[in-house]
Point group: C2
């Protein structure tokens, strides 16, 4: 499970891959469809799909010459479960006050 979290968080630490997941939230997508919106070579994008698959966030099935990908939420749930350990911290009044201050400072820039 520890290594699973490693893979999951590492897979999520890239905007291209997060965008692909967002696309998969709307339904199955072929590798080509997942790759298209991204400004990089097809092979590069396909590697990202591979990372998502190896992390268990995506499942592939052959459909003719296409390869259809489907979201697998289970690992996302595990990651979320881990994160919620700290819920009490971000819910604490002190932390919320601090967050507000940080936001205000950001707006001033």
């Amino acid at each position: 499970m520890v290594e699973r979290l490693d893979l999951t968080f590492a897979a999520l630490a890239d905007p291209t891959r997060r965008a692909m997941l967002a696309s998969l939230a709307l339904g199955e997508r072929s590798v080509g469809e997942l790759a298209a919106p991204h400004a990089m070579s097809f092979a590069g994008a396909a590697k990202h799909v591979g990372v998502l698959e190896r992390a268990g966030l995506v499942e592939r099935r052959k459909a003719g010459r296409q390869q259809l990908c489907r979201l697998k939420a289970e690992r996302l749930r595990e990651a979320d479960e881990w994160l919620r350990q700290w819920e009490r911290f971000w819910l604490s009044t002190l932390d919320r006050l601090e967050a507000i201050i940080v936001e205000d400072q950001a707006k001033l820039k």
Copy 2:
């Protein structure tokens, strides 16, 4: 915000750093205290603390010759918020059924 999620998830993708956060959940810790439990050089562990700090998950303050670290939950909350976009997927009956099957198969090994 996109780059923030990059940093947050990347910081979480390492068991040493997750363990450090768990330690910080119990209260402030010096860099040395954070480093001690891990089977690596002090400098190596201190680098991990640096990663956590740069990701905004940890705050440092000087206290004599020590450097006390405190958990900052705000970025964890942001990561959690992002993950919960997919909550409906892992709550869906189909996905839950699949999860149960996967677990059963794991138990058979």
